[in-house]
Symmetry: D2
Subunit: 340 residues, 4 copies
Amino acid sequence: MIVVMVRGASREQIEDVEKRIQDWGYGVHPIYGEERTVIGAVGVPEADKARYMESLEALPYVEQVLAILRPYKFASRELHPEGTVVDVKGVMVGGSQIALMAGPCTVETYEQTLESAQACRAAGATILRGGAFKPSTSPYSFQGHGEAALKILREIADKLEMRVITEVMDPRNVEMVCQYADILQIGTRNMQNYDLLREAGRVQTPVMIKRGMWAKIEEWLQAAEYVLLGGNPNVMLCERGIRTFETYTRNTLDLSAVPAVKELSHLPVVIDPSQGTGKRSLVEAMCKAAVAVGADGLLIEVHPHPEQALKDGPQSLTTADFGGLVERLRPVAAAVGRQL
Amino acid sequence: MIVVMVRGASREQIEDVEKRIQDWGYGVHPIYGEERTVIGAVGVPEADKARYMESLEALPYVEQVLAILRPYKFASRELHPEGTVVDVKGVMVGGSQIALMAGPCTVETYEQTLESAQACRAAGATILRGGAFKPSTSPYSFQGHGEAALKILREIADKLEMRVITEVMDPRNVEMVCQYADILQIGTRNMQNYDLLREAGRVQTPVMIKRGMWAKIEEWLQAAEYVLLGGNPNVMLCERGIRTFETYTRNTLDLSAVPAVKELSHLPVVIDPSQGTGKRSLVEAMCKAAVAVGADGLLIEVHPHPEQALKDGPQSLTTADFGGLVERLRPVAAAVGRQL
Amino acid sequence: MIVVMVRGASREQIEDVEKRIQDWGYGVHPIYGEERTVIGAVGVPEADKARYMESLEALPYVEQVLAILRPYKFASRELHPEGTVVDVKGVMVGGSQIALMAGPCTVETYEQTLESAQACRAAGATILRGGAFKPSTSPYSFQGHGEAALKILREIADKLEMRVITEVMDPRNVEMVCQYADILQIGTRNMQNYDLLREAGRVQTPVMIKRGMWAKIEEWLQAAEYVLLGGNPNVMLCERGIRTFETYTRNTLDLSAVPAVKELSHLPVVIDPSQGTGKRSLVEAMCKAAVAVGADGLLIEVHPHPEQALKDGPQSLTTADFGGLVERLRPVAAAVGRQL
Amino acid sequence: MIVVMVRGASREQIEDVEKRIQDWGYGVHPIYGEERTVIGAVGVPEADKARYMESLEALPYVEQVLAILRPYKFASRELHPEGTVVDVKGVMVGGSQIALMAGPCTVETYEQTLESAQACRAAGATILRGGAFKPSTSPYSFQGHGEAALKILREIADKLEMRVITEVMDPRNVEMVCQYADILQIGTRNMQNYDLLREAGRVQTPVMIKRGMWAKIEEWLQAAEYVLLGGNPNVMLCERGIRTFETYTRNTLDLSAVPAVKELSHLPVVIDPSQGTGKRSLVEAMCKAAVAVGADGLLIEVHPHPEQALKDGPQSLTTADFGGLVERLRPVAAAVGRQL
């Protein structure tokens, strides 16, 4: 922790800051520059740093306080140099095999879900995605079929030997959703829903945390830290586009987040090109890029009849599109030493 | 709803779109331009629009679908031309009196809260703010004292004849928090936590919805629509800064949101300059601007000793600062025909 | 300058960094923390800092380099504690009188400009704005009447005893525009057009630098530094909205930039609510807020017949609106100890 | 063009809008909805649209005006279905061969440039990049060696049979730079420097327009339209990252811009992962993604000794890194049917 004093800070003011740091039990290393005095504080543990930094920054004679270390621990690669491979009942996410998660945006009916799931399975997907609880900007939009949809997902997944990933929004539903799902998805709007994250930390079901559309990578890793700290080590991340000024795409899919997370953290990273672009015509190119950039999985919306979809039709691939896409992705995966 | 066909759409494709619209029971008005055919759909009700728009946009021969009407109804000024005044047990928000909501970021102890509250009350604040449940980016930061803090808030507010505003984060806590609070605050990270919004719509306690740091005004009003549609008419909004590329301030406080919301909606708007800037030195100027721009209330962090605060010290005013600030705000309020 | 070494940096690597800093002639102050070594460098002059920081950051065993001082000097308030008042041939910008700059977006005809200017003058404006060279996103939009428009502006301003502010876009035109204009406006798209800034630094005509719609405050002040370093001390800044994700307004007018610039710099700050919002209906409220927040001037688009304007009609006030607006702004100015 | 009237617009107001459109010579198609009247205008040519839209939007009884067609013509794929291949003296950009543009950020000395260029050439680069005129946020940073640097670039490129790409910032220098360069680079800060774009439209030297860090894809294509309309058909685009709230990377590299531009336009698209990320450690992964997503070229900073670079060392690859990178990119190119 580096404390920068204001220009012209007095001897007393400098000593006051030094004394505060020493009172907390840490070492003090002042540097007297020509224009500013800077005080290094050594030995401040992670758990107290945020609080002490704010406390010093609140002093009128402190200009700024700079952090030196990253604000997360269990999520960091420093303390966990090997990449984590999450075991989803035998389907691995984070290994050399890239995980294909595909299915409809929303579970509408058994037939629609089955038709989509069969096509996805045939093309190579091993994890079935489908929404039972849907976060919708408008209260007038479809909100999902809830537990009934979870039953459909489970039944179809079992029949096709797939795993199930589905979103949970309400902390009250975490346990119930765990009865049906193999991966709990925390949606972009809930990345900083701390009560939900805490509940997800209490179970052992793998959790996939989507990046908040407003979230810095560092904040995203701190969301993961909530779950890891809670005791659930089975965490994966999903980049699904951030909000920028661009309006041609629904979001701006930040593929640099993959190598960035890989150098900061040991957690696997999945890419969602459907939400990330909001346009079916861009999905294939972004899937290829995601595989090449090092993503550990792809999450893709596939609907037998996108124009009849209750939600997100414009970004869903048809089941026919999807098969061809996977074929074209395989050589890209091979080119970077992975399989699909 | 205006459907724009792709260039060169065939006769059959145009008729297919027309037929779909007619099958939903709506009127069809095609315009044959030189480069594109455009089809107007008349009579589509609000509740179905989002779904139908997506469904048409999913067709490969539709280029885009444009909405004509706003995606909210109960929140709109069109259907409610008079501005809403929310009655918080006799303290009005939205009338000619500007509501002053002040107090510490977080309830730390009874004494600290009382000292802050007394100073705020003496300066003219009628609503006591204070955090019992704190959303913190880091799991290692202080998370609030929970129900114990609520009791402190209630006791002090009753003693000083103030009202209480405090944040609720977990839908499971809405009822409990209502026992202590006069206004439920929905925080920025929870603006699209729909289960929480739905719970807030089931009670009659006034609700203040902070704008998501990533949220367009239109999305913010749809969050309000969730609560209004649920049956709770006592909704106010709070602008607390949006996330931009600027790093000197913690957020970018969007004051144009006040007149913008006023022309779109009848709901009162409160400004939070403490969160909005993250810097104590900018709070006074932004309070003056907020009053001048037409805000119905101010939400200000005041701490007796900001450098000892457990959270957000750098943006808290001292109790001494606060009294002077209110004095200097009064002539600005008068200049725009309001009182403070 | 604070150099943070990577975790586990070796003795040799630390010494290499120390040696580099010493070779540049500066003092070295290492702090050996538990997880990282941090090296303070003392005495690095402003002019070399950026280069040295990048050079160290390029070393694989350096994690990051943190700056302590602000990257500008002539623009900083530290070296110039008094606020600057720019003298525009007797009209002061930066004093207790708030400067009113008003007129049409674009000079279309002599009559239109005269009609607008007379109304603005009558209402209290002392500086006439009007575009002769227009930056237009589309090459098919109106690009301005060039020098002919400058002649019209000068003639009308002289007749009405006003000053002229107008945009210059091409470094080749700076001298020519100086023959007609009293303030050179550098537009938002040219805030980092360094050849243009350098030309503006070679003259003594006052310069108003609009904030780039993508620019951090620190970068904006560095643009001012280019002009000041060039030898022209007559610099003012203009906040005109930054680009964010919000689409209801054309830009997000960042009023916190006024007190922020005031604490960092001595330069006057003008607000442009017309560009800043892009909507006539929001201009009045934002003018009031701008005056209350401490702006030194307002730049407002006024057109006798906005619906016939060649450009920016939707954000122009009518001449009738403008008179009433100024009346309503006067008490706000008085409330913060200014005149208008 | 679709004109949406305000709710409750009167018969006279609707007729006024219709009359204006008819007076301009266009067809009028009103749709009388239940809540709004909407008027379609047919036959409005591109060149007049922007102006007419603004003019109608300025009317108080018009709520909004929606465009149907794209605001560019020569840049659009509709009018030029085949992808453009720019011929840079025999080196093709836009064909099946991906163009490798590499070299130092800045030309510092003959030796440094030669060392970098030889390594780049050996690895397969055919176009030598290097800055002679450098846009620097700080006036104290290195600004480039100007024409002397251009001579070095030309001499080395001729010796190694490479082509030269270099930035031009000042419209006065376009002709001079054309004497040395094979591609004129318009930098991100100058994407809307219209005088510069117009000069670039007057020559036949290929032009590469970097996306403004604040620019929507539609605005970027309009910048290209300036050059194309001026008479220079040899235009390519370069995505180099946009400005967002993320601070871990210097910019957010928007790879979805590649397929997006490909569906809107026929112009080739190059990716700059060095500027796009600002971090050497992320460059390789983003190069792979760029190739997989369909980029027509890569622009990469390579320096023999990044830690001695005068500029942008942290994002430069070493010459040794670069050779290995190209080897690892070749199978990715092959996987998407391209060569490198």
